[in-house]
């Protein structure tokens, strides 16, 4: 999560896109990214209930090709998250230091299971 939260901030800055990364873990926060609420709802629906209501809402907001792209991105990170966790992929101390504020703001430490990496 840390890597792609960082890429979210970086790409938003590079493309002059507003973003509030707190929305990643706080459902009351508007992500500000165009179509952001619909995208988050689509992820949640895909990984929990599987209902297609969120898909239709995303389709209405960003169009059918965006729904397919969102679906494939979810699939990709279902894959990469498993690879990272199953191989014990470490987050370097430099990255932790650079992202200390982000880690604290989003409470990402609670996901850190790599304490026995080494």
């Amino acid at each position: 999560m840390l890597a792609h939260t960082g890429l979210l901030s970086w790409s938003a800055q590079q493309t002059d896109t507003p973003v509030d990364v707190r929305a990643l873990t706080d459902p009351d926060v508007d992500p500000l990214v165009p179509g952001g609420r619909e995208l988050l709802s689509f992820v949640d629906a895909t990984l929990t209930s599987g209902d297609q209501v969120a898909s239709r809402a995303l389709d209405a907001t960003l169009g059918a090709p965006a729904v397919v792209m969102a679906a494939t991105v979810i699939g990709n990170f279902q894959m990469m998250n498993r690879v990272a966790d199953a191989t014990g992929m470490p987050v370097g101390t430099g990255s932790r230091r650079r992202n200390a504020e982000l880690i604290e703001a989003l409470g990402l430490d609670r996901y850190d299971h790599l304490e026995d990496t080494g």
Partner: protein, 207 residues
Amino acid sequence: MSLDRPELAVRTGLGRAMEDSWQSLGSPGTRWTGSERIRIVAEARAARLATSPGQEDDVMARAAWKVAASPASIRRHWVDALARDGLDPGRYVELVGIVSRAVAIDTVLEALGLEIEPLPQPVAGDPSEDVDQRAGKVKAWVPMVGGASITQALSMVPAENAKLEALHGALYLSFEEMADPKPGKELTRPQMELVAARTSAYNECFY
């Protein structure tokens, strides 16, 4: 059925890339036969659908279940225990790739409200045993070539690492495209990263 479906045709080559990746799961791998690889996919599916309890006495099934259904609960001592029970690092790395790719493809279809694909037919033949001998101890739980990095995570088993990279490029971005803030896809890069980060939050994946 094939993954080369009209619903996926919005992006050139997407359905074909998914189909190639899916069918390869039934081919002989590096340390597993085609039939064994399909059994791994079946165990991963069963784990995600929780259709029956995991088979604790079968080390391959035990590994497939955990990687598929609760990856955030994996710890180094568990990986080490698998090795002691006969799942050596090469077999484990290949299994991680198989399960992860199968989960990815199933998830895409589920997200789009499409039927999941039948298991591929097994292809006869022996495993290649083509493990990269340069893979060594790194600051991670499995041997890798050239240091611990996500792009090298499966590098001990080059064939599986290549399949992972190909699917990553088809579903999201190639490793090269990741440096581009405007890659010209159906979502903007911030939209893609919002989806990526939320998925990782759901999976409780710190990395």
